[in-house]
Symmetry: D2
Subunit: 512 residues, 4 copies
């Protein structure tokens, strides 16, 4: 395959994805090339948008002032089907969402976020919402004309996101305890939430799913890291439940407040803010004791979004490097023709194709399992392991390719005037959002330890790999799992990295 | 050695550097902790300084408007001895410069640049300037009270920096050809320069060394990359000469103009601009035909500065990660106590110490050779190889550690509000300035091919390493050098990286 | 008439302007309300646009990076007819241009500038260009689909704009003296310009008219202000000529360079820059010795544009004040209902209507005289006097109303978050551009002294005013003109102001 | 007196103020010229400072990140005596405070604000605080070494500042009602405040005085503007009380929160924010039913500060215009030598001297009355009238002179690159802060109607004016006061303006 395919997301995907699936996206890609790119650059250049907190008559407004064009690029992806397409037929496949994400993130890495969190709001509403809630809200989310409501997923509070069990201090109270509303017959599921969310992506969304602690539920305070528990560590933060929170209260007022927008170095095309929940109306999703599972299910969706965005951004970084290397002349010829430079391209192109295979597998496995509810199947755990490996590895590639693109640009790489530095700023969220590498490794380790997910993985990969290679990595994993707890955790990094690369390479072979 | 030494540059250097050499810097480090840090943060936050191009009466001024505190942190390092100390005794050692650089770059990675380019101006003036030039300018550079003149090194033009031979279009004309000045008896060395410099670090400096092409000298236009030449590739750009250019003309006017300041993503504490040379008065340094050698000698100095700054920044990134990991609690304990996190720290700390050894060796070798003039000794070529390896490797570590520091910070890592993201922005100049990795590898390859510098290197390292390891790497290098030209260049990266790591590890053993 | 008419430019103009003339603008106003306003606010908020001086391959580009929506609002006015409408029929009326300007400036005060300078380029090209030039360039300027070329008028250099005779140092050389181009038969009128323009409005325009000094022409250096000359003071800067300068050279390269964009406090919707003319290809307009007259004719056009923009902005300031005063409650009722506030509105509304009458008269007189060439008619001089009075007075109102709007807003008036402060920033260009108040008074004085323009004015106003009032002001003017030169100049301000108010009031009576 | 005195605040004040009073300020002025000016420019250029709301471990911090030099210029004025000097001897004179303010505001108009609000905190604490409160807090405020605590005055809430009676919604509850604290014997005066302040100047101060409504006190909701009340309109908002609120709680935590910093167009050297009071500890000052009087007393102090700052800024604008007019050459000579320009300077210089006299009188009268408590003397009401006249008139001059300075600068006046535009941005707060012109007129009208303050004024001015002039203005006022209520309010503006000018001119005569 030729390096030139780097320059188009659809061309690059086309090696793997049937044309019929990509056809609906051709207009979308063309639009990005013709109009979207320059808008995306301007949004990035404009930096953090302004928040107009009050209107001029003193009424709280919380209006986010993007360059007006922002809303155009945002809507374009919704129209293309970021939310509605997965539910447009009976296939139960989320694939079209991720393909749209891919194209989007090639052009604007931050914009994938509104789409994935909107999906991550739609899915639990569909799976766990009461009929009444679904009727009320789903049609707004699934509109096709760009006027759809957006979703958002707000879990993290100021003390940090990885240990939700300890750090979520938002309290939910059923409304009967708080408000006398005799005439609201169907509102038995109304709760009021109070607390502050610290990293609230796509703030301003019309609907959000929010992690909160029903009043009286325990907050874990044992001080013992979950890894040492004999029982299911995931059960520890069982005090959490998941709620649906609309932006507008039933009386028409604001239902949550945006304290401020985060001044981020990248992904400026998604507004991230701090949210104040103050007696905010909320609806419970699923059973309260399932809360942590619903949260993790939502993370599954966005983790695959992270993988998709990472591969797309990695492609973009190589594409830009290629364009530059074709145009920049040194020592009498374009630098792409210098042997070392060419070799560097070839190696990275190969890695990118392996990452693409890993991504594609994660999407397909998610499609198989996303409708499950607890207790989950083995296939679900296989998905989880692959998602951890893929999230870890693709985010790393995205950052390294973005860094390398800057090096290819030489001095221009560090100037704000040119786009090269942007991709590194954009990329840095990828290893961090939805769990740092550290987190992926430990959670991956856990699913191997407790669910033997590696065995399913090796079985899954067996058709595509040399069997002695498979034997080698399999033994290495088994040996590692025999280590004492502390050594096992401490030494996981090289094992996990090699497993990720092995898996990617194997899957690339499958798709060849 | 304890991780806590990461928090102080002098504590970390103290393992290697005799206390007597560090004592003069204790006040300097203390000042940074007490006052400098907050100023440095503010300068970074303020972004690119303003350029006031004209005063309000229409007179060209080219005044750079930093936050006024900037000048205070800038002067502090000059007072500490960034320029004067190397020349304060008869030792001919530049070591104190680099130690000051190290401390500086731990606190403000951009500020090392003014110091190193000032040194890189002082050294050729001292080595190659006429007695008249030295008398006129050296005292200004060597002042100890912070009122010293600054230097600058301006080579690169708009078409790029790596291929100076082709890309320097600035023309120098001896003044006799241009101006009738019968009464200026001593000015036989006065030239007038015309051209544009595109990446001019420390713009605004009172003196700069500038690469230009004496009128009539050939500009290489063969279109053949130098690597394929049988003869000395370095001789190709023999049309270049090196000039000393003051900021103020003899008649008191501006001698060069700042077209604009570059909007850089990092290193905002050094103003980088585009410079217009318009009949700018200039003085030839050395013989015209030596120009390219003088340029490369100047690069030697700044390359070691780049190495120093890289190790210092790598230390800083780990220091900040450590402070965060000690304070951030998850799953009941500070995250530094989580086994995988601790392991990641230990591995990086070991790498940092190896990098430090490589840096220290480069400084010592430079001290041996910096006073040489062409033709150079073998020792000079050994220095060159080590400098290429060290520049390549330490810059890579700086970037990777800065990236990792952001990951340790989690979501806070991508917020402009906190310092973690700054170090990545600062670090990205390090692999690029003074030659990208690509350039280091090719130039390192050349000095091995043409000067057999690897043989000297292995001899140099022999006392500190296992002999079979030495044999292995030596054979690998020799085999690589036997390859055909294109394959040799294309395949250099893994060989070169391993040689860098091997050398660093060996030298770390030496200093143990 | 009701205060509510303040909220729509067409409603307010409708009292004076026949509906048939306003009908074509209804869509334009509606578009501004629906879409344009929010874009205009975003462009202002974005501040000075970036200039991308080189593309990433080192080629000079001088690309102005506005938020992409900017181009949409810019084009909308061109499509509405800012340039093409005045030439769409045989009426020879520029009125539609100014009506479009009015609507535009109500919504975006800076945007009137591109339109008026484009007109000011089109008119001299049409009047004084050779048939060849007109054929080549007019069709580009007159396109109706928004793809038209833009014009620009660049006179001022770094030493200041009011004394062009002394301060224009740009030199024009006929091409025969500079370049050997035997084969370019028709290019006898090609000149090359060298110099720097300091306040270049609408920089980036495809065509500009530029004041330059044909090589060899005298630069006035007498040091004697023109007011004391017995002969025609306007003749003094007879060394200037007017040239047409395209953006692109005949060989496809850039014909002028943008050194930088000015960081202005307002009118950010017009890019203002510094322009470097470097052997820039140029075409002489009219006879060289007419240069200063052509420059002044161009000023006539933009001065009426300034008047139009001032009245529109003054209306906008009152409109915003009204909206706020209707919504803000204090002491139990909207502040518009407080008697003093209401009185302040009524007084300003009356002043605004007088200013409108003055504007309308200036437009009509311009229509009568804009096609004249030297020697001019009396009517031309009457126009000049009214234009000076109106420029002086309407700009003053615009600033004072914008200031007062801020006061009505109270503390919100000084916050960047709300629009009130914007209008003051926008307004401040109005008393300055096209001649400060100081300049208007002195030039107005001159046309009274030398052309007896006040006599024509009084004759013109006689039908609409009380004759004893007319007698009073007439005597006062005559007495003032009898004063010694220095006293006459020193004391002009109160006389001139009263004459402006008298004229405005009289004309408001005419139109009642 | 010569125009040159414009260039130094002390030189200009020296005509009026005894040298002995100015001597202590000579160093202060010199320091501003040598160091402060450039810092002040940089603080303005840096824009709104950042607010670091949380530290990196998630602890609320509310740290204001100015350029570090800011704190140096801030402290310099405190050291000079902005707070301690008025209390350094037994003179009970606040004069030294205002002289320091004058010098400060000549150089940095925003910086006067921290000083005056600190004074306005110190005075009520001294007058109305319990002995315990005074002992605890006064020593911190009165430190002389620059480490003093700062004060602040927070009244306004989101619905507006002029109608405090209706718009203050912050509730104060005595602590016994809220918290069980049996052991805190002396804390009978501790209250807890809850509410949001919208324009909080000098946010971050260690102490603030805050208007709040004791729980249960009435909030005026009659909807009848106070002007129509027969009884004392000032009594209406009798539900308000004044509290002292420290930044740090007794347990060491933050006692108030900064929601955000206001993005102001000027006076960036004082941080203005929104404050959240959340069970904030507070101490009642004076009797609860005196609250509104204490608030008005505090306004007296800051109103005189506004007058001082206005005259100082007006002087600065003229000073800068003069410097420019001396250096800018047009038509062969500096523009200051052009007769009209010179006349404009002379007229404004005369107005400035009248404004200075008005300011000086306000300061002296304040000195006579600032220690009074309700019921107030006639002298107090005379002071009030003069303060209203002076606040109205001097703020107007400051704005008009700042505007005119921009016009003198021509095109440079609208560039952010030069200082001219800054003074207009700074000036615009002056007519707004501490009551808009509208407010001054109505309050001035009230004190004439209800206290016959104009009679005292005319008696006060009688020695310095022509008696027939006095008679004229006196009759005019009396006639105006006879008008019906609505007409009286509606028509107050011209009367009030003329009275202000008359008073200023009279007092300028007194001091001649």
């Amino acid at each position: 395959m030729d390096l030139q395919s780097l320059k188009s997301p659809l061309a690059f995907l086309g090696e793997l994805v049937p044309d019929s699936q990509l056809t609906p996206l051709k207009d979308y890609e063309s639009w990005w090339l013709a109009e979207g790119t320059v808008i995306s650059e301007a949004v990035d250049r404009a930096g953090t948008p302004w928040l107009r907190m009050f209107d001029q008559f003193g009424k709280r407004a919380d209006e986010i002032l993007f360059p007006p064009d922002y809303w155009k690029i945002l809507k374009r992806g919704y129209q293309a089907g970021a939310i509605w397409r997965p539910f447009a037929d009976d296939s139960s496949s989320l694939r079209m969402h991720y393909l749209i994400d891919y194209v989007t993130c090639f052009f604007d890495a931050g914009l994938g976020c509104p789409y994935i969190v909107s999906l991550s709001t739609t899915v639990p509403l569909k799976k766990y919402g009461t009929a009444e809630l679904r009727d009320r809200y789903l049609p707004h989310l699934l509109r096709r004309d760009g006027t759809n409501w957006q979703g958002a997923t707000w879990m993290t509070e100021v003390k940090g996101g990885s240990d939700l069990g300890a750090n979520v201090e938002t309290i939910a109270r059923p409304v009967q305890q708080t408000v006398q509303s005799a005439d609201r017959s169907a509102s038995s599921d109304l709760w009021l939430l109070n607390g502050d969310k610290y990293f609230s992506s796509n703030v301003g969304a019309e609907l959000a799913i929010v992690a909160a602690r029903p009043a009286g539920a325990p907050q874990r305070g044992t001080g013992v890291p979950h890894r040492n528990h004999a029982q299911d560590a995931r059960a520890t933060p069982h005090g959490l439940a998941l709620f649906l929170v609309p932006r507008i209260r039933e009386d028409g007022g604001l239902n949550y407040f945006i304290r401020r927008l985060k001044n981020k170095i990248g992904t400026r095309s998604v507004p991230t803010g701090e949210v104040e929940l103050r007696d905010s109306e909320a609806y419970l999703l699923g059973k309260p004791e399932w809360g942590i599972y619903l949260i993790l299910e939502s993370l599954n969706l966005s983790r695959v979004g992270n993988i998709t965005g990472s591969v797309a951004l990695a492609q973009r970084a190589l594409a830009d490097a290629l364009t530059f290397a074709e145009g920049r002349v040194a020592f009498g010829k374009p630098i792409i023709e210098h042997p070392l430079m060419r070799r560097q391209f070839d190696e990275r192109f190969a890695q990118l194709r392996e990452a693409r295979a890993l991504m594609w597998e994660a999407i397909h496995l998610l499609d198989e399992v996303w409708q499950e509810t607890p207790r989950y199947s083995d296939r679900y755990h296989l998905f989880r392991l692959i998602a951890h490996l893929a999230k870890y590895w693709t985010a790393e590639l995205a950052v390294q390719f973005a860094k390398w693109n800057m090096e290819v640009h030489g001095g221009l790489g560090v100037l704000a005037e040119y786009p090269a530095e942007r991709w590194l700023r954009e990329a840095m969220i990828l290893p961090i959002w939805e769990g740092t590498p550290h987190r992926q490794m430990l959670d991956g380790l856990e699913v191997m330890e407790r669910k033997r997910a590696h065995e399913m993985l090796f079985q899954h990969l067996a058709p595509y790999v040399d069997q002695s290679d498979l034997q080698d990595i399999s033994s290495r994993i088994e040996q590692h799992l025999q280590l004492a707890a502390e050594a096992k955790e401490a030494g996981i990094e090289p094992v996990f990295r090699d497993l990720a690369v092995f898996t990617a390479r194997a899957l690339a072979g499958k798709n060849r």
